[in-house]
């Protein structure tokens, strides 16, 4: 029997009923009195000087209330790395130059969306087109056009990671491989596009309702960009229809709505269209990978060297962090004694690239897991065995980077080995590929205000025993409201339905960095657990006095029953004690406070999840078409808080990561994205979904609340690599260039046939 009352139970989401009945109010649904509707004018050029913007005709259109350009702003440049001005490079409303097709140049507020749209056509912008560059390998050439002043070779950021003696280690290797890979872009495709309602009032206060992953960051970035004090801005996150990394930077909907509202002192709402969502928000970073891997004959890997050149797009965005994490996760989940990574992010005249679920790890995992299978093949070693020989283990230190406490990778290898054996001999043209992965449970770093990340929570116990939980955590669909409510209920010893969560409103909730890097369960979970424990101890003091128990007895609360631990039948009702305690305090409610910061927990994260995924495909050798039949994942994320939550994360991750491996891409022509609609952008749909199975491995993470760690983004990492390896197993062709489309498989098969004929 479980020692927990709430943790580990299959619980439906606390926000489920309002979402499935359609009664949840998203930002899109918010209507305020006298509210106006905004639209944004965007550049049709990938690179051009702005010579003149004439807004007079638009202003005269009946129904138009205001038109703003960059001249109506304080002219600051935004960026999340506020300590490094050269990385704050995005004006949002451009004043002198546009750098990609979709850069914003003006915004309109009108009585309705149609009028605002009509007004955009009346704004006259005179551009001087400049030569542009779209591919990072072209952008870093001496003769390439310069996208930002003073940036040599358009190299926006470099990152370096190294340990051991790589050059010496390669000399000792029996076998060395050098390979090149290319990873494509991917759109986040949130069901709710970026949107915001901004309301600036005559007292000089700005309130914003917006679809975001971090109310905290948006509040601070808005303050910077608008010359307001943070305390004068309140950011409220209503229910949010997806984020996946796209919604924790200031975007054009938020900024333009705020600028217009400040000009008019009226509420302004901006909802990006689906086309804008594809063309004028951030996206996954395309990468060119050059990898050198050396091993002993027995498969012991001695050294790895990685060079990556990424397509940054027009602005820095979260690029610096993504570039570092790409390097860190390129070593995962193996014990390389010698490792070197050099990453370069190049500016290009394309839509900016930034964070997306996995934060660089899906790319590095595809590359690493493809190459390790290639190495195993060269050496005649089983793919499971080579991973077992080199895989991370508990209490392993990644030199100078991270300390890994819990790690269930080897149990995952055992489970997937059993799964593959169970599938038996496969029919012709079927293959099972595997891919190992790991991921962080929140970044230890913060970009401003504090060097370390942090989470805080407040628990208020009311006179009827009901609990209000206040947290800055952002539920963007991943289920953090449910997870945190469960942690709170378990720690307090009350029912889940006793908890009411208030989240992501900077006006009433303690600060939290938000939902990125899979941080909410571990970081906010620890803060919530601590706040609940603080409140609980206050109740216990009163209960102990009331019950008159001997001080040698410990008290606990379980299922609303305060009792002596060793004699659970001897106790009192939690609800009665709370009522008496609060009456005795003249109505003063009980408040518990909690805070967590991963101080001195390495460079990256306080904890890591691990897993191994097996994908089975069936390839048609005539056409190259293939079907993803089964994806089985052995996953360890410490103590499972809510099994339904993990299953949801896994299925969503397979859909997203399978799409990254199989079909999703954003082809461009001279910087113009060619498939900016749901009809043209190929996603894995429900009917394309393979059979999925999750094999949950039992581990306990000492740093996590009740032993839990992340289960959100890590699951996005392995699928592309597993698909690539499965296709190779099925028909013997290796695709190093994502996505692995049927067309690429077809061409590789024909090439293989040609080579076969030649060698005969």
């Amino acid at each position: 029997m479980s020692k927990y009352s709430v943790i580990g139970k299959r619980v439906h989401r606390v926000d489920g009923p309002e979402k499935v009945t359609g009664s949840a109010k998203y930002t899109f649904d918010i209507v305020l009195p006298n509210m106006l509707y905004g639209k944004v004018l965007r550049s049709p050029h990938p690179h051009a000087k702005i010579l003149k913007i004439d807004t007079r005709k638009a202003e005269k259109l009946i129904g138009v209330k205001a038109v703003v350009t960059g001249k109506d702003t304080p002219g600051h440049k935004q960026g999340i790395w506020r300590r490094f001005p050269e990385l704050c490079d995005e004006e949002i409303l451009c004043r002198q130059k546009v750098r990609y097709i979709g850069d914003a140049v003006a915004a309109v507020a009108a009585i309705d969306e149609d009028t605002a749209e009509e007004a955009l056509d009346l704004i006259e912008v005179e551009y001087e087109p400049l030569s542009a560059v779209f591919d990072p390998l072209e952008a870093i050439k001496e003769e390439a056009p310069q996208i930002h002043d003073g940036v040599d070779l358009n190299i926006n950021i470099t990152r370096h990671i190294e340990w051991g003696d790589v050059d010496e280690a390669f000399k000792k290797c029996d076998h060395i491989r050098e390979d090149q890979f290319k990873c494509c872009s991917q759109a986040h495709v949130c069901m709710e596009t970026h949107d915001a309602v901004a309301s600036f009032d005559y007292s000089g206060k700005l309130t914003m309702w917006t679809s975001t992953q971090s109310s905290y960051y948006i509040q601070r970035l808005l303050a910077d960009m608008l010359d307001l004090r943070e305390g004068d801005i309140r950011v409220i996150k209503p229910p949010t229809g997806g984020g996946f990394g796209s919604k924790f930077e200031l975007d054009s909907a938020q900024f333009c709505a705020a600028v217009l509202s400040m000009k008019l002192c009226k509420p302004v709402k901006i909802v990006l269209t689906r086309e804008e969502e594809f063309t004028a928000t951030k996206r996954r970073t395309p990468m060119y990978y050059f990898v050198k891997l050396g091993a002993k004959r027995d498969g012991t890997m001695l050294a790895k060297e990685v060079r990556v050149i990424t397509e940054g797009g027009a602005y820095t965005a979260m690029g610096a962090t993504a570039l570092y994490l790409t390097g860190f996760f390129s070593s995962f989940p193996y014990k390389y004694p010698n490792y070197r990574y050099d990453g370069y992010r190049a500016y290009t005249n394309t839509a900016p690239t930034s964070a997306m679920r996995g934060f660089g790890a899906p790319q590095s995992t595809f590359v690493g897991e493809s190459q390790i299978d290639m190495l195993a093949d060269d050496l005649g070693i089983d793919p499971i065995e080579i991973r077992r020989k080199n895989g991370m283990t508990p209490n392993y230190e990644v030199p100078g980077q991270a300390y890994i406490q819990s790690c269930g990778l080897h149990q995952c290898l055992d489970e997937i080995e059993k799964h593959i054996k169970k599938r038996g001999k496969l029919p012709p043209n079927h293959g099972i590929g595997i891919s190992a992965y790991g991921f962080m449970s929140g970044g230890i770093f913060n970009w401003f205000d504090t060097p370390y990340a942090f989470s805080a929570a407040l628990v208020r116990i009311n006179i009827d025993g009901k609990v209000d939980l206040f947290t800055g955590a952002c539920d963007i669909g991943q289920g953090s409201d449910t997870t945190l409510s469960m942690i709170c209920a378990e720690e307090l010893g009350v029912r889940l339905e006793d908890i009411r969560i208030h989240a992501a409103d900077t006006g009433i909730c303690p600060a939290d960095l938000g939902a990125w890097g899979s941080r909410e369960t571990l970081m906010n979970g620890n803060a919530v657990k601590m706040a609940a424990a603080d409140a609980k101890s206050q109740i216990m003091e009163f209960a102990a006095a009331k019950m008159g128990v001997n001080i040698t007895y410990d008290l606990d609360i379980k299922d609303g029953w305060i009792h002596i631990v060793n004699r659970p039948e001897r106790g009192v009702s939690y609800y009665d004690i709370v009522k008496e305690a609060i009456r005795g305090r003249d109505g003063n409610v009980i408040i518990g406070r909690g805070h967590y910061t991963p101080h001195r927990k390495g460079m990256i994260s306080p904890a890591y999840s691990f897993g191994l995924q097996a994908a089975e495909v069936e390839v048609d050798p005539e056409t190259g078409r293939y079907k993803l039949l089964n994806v089985t994942t052995a996953h360890e994320s410490g103590t499972v808080i809510n099994p339904i939550g993990i299953e949801g994360q896994l299925e969503g991750a397979i859909m997203m990561a399978g799409g990254f491996g199989f079909c999703e891409d954003q082809p461009m022509d001279e910087g113009k994205i060619l498939n900016p609609s749901i009809a043209d952008y190929k996603l894995i749909r429900s009917l394309d979904m393979p059979e999925t199975e999750i094999l949950e491995i039992d581990t306990y993470e000492p740093e996590g609340p009740f032993g839990a760690k992340e289960a959100g983004e890590g699951l996005t990492n392995p699928t592309a690599g597993a698909i690539g390896n499965a296709v190779y197993k099925a028909v013997g062709v290796r695709i190093n260039d994502l996505p692995i489309t049927p067309e690429k498989v077809f061409r590789a098969l024909r090439e293989k046939e040609k080579q076969g004929k030649k060698s005969k």
Binding site: E86, D152, I155, T158, H160, F290
Partner: protein
Amino acid sequence: MSYKCPVCIKVSSSAMDLARHMIGRGDKIHKDWISSKGFKYSELLALQFKSFGGEGYKALSEVLEKETKTKD
């Protein structure tokens, strides 16, 4: 031994580490110092991303070894 950045407060444990810092930082003051030593910043970068082995860092670290080494 320690290696002190000639233009900011950064102290590194080796000339290679300091070269990584200076090229990685890439702002005007660091680039100006690199140029004053006869290097072209863009060429050092190009050396780095065109081949394995960290050749750009190595080239700069040879100068830093001579000019920035201090006894602790």
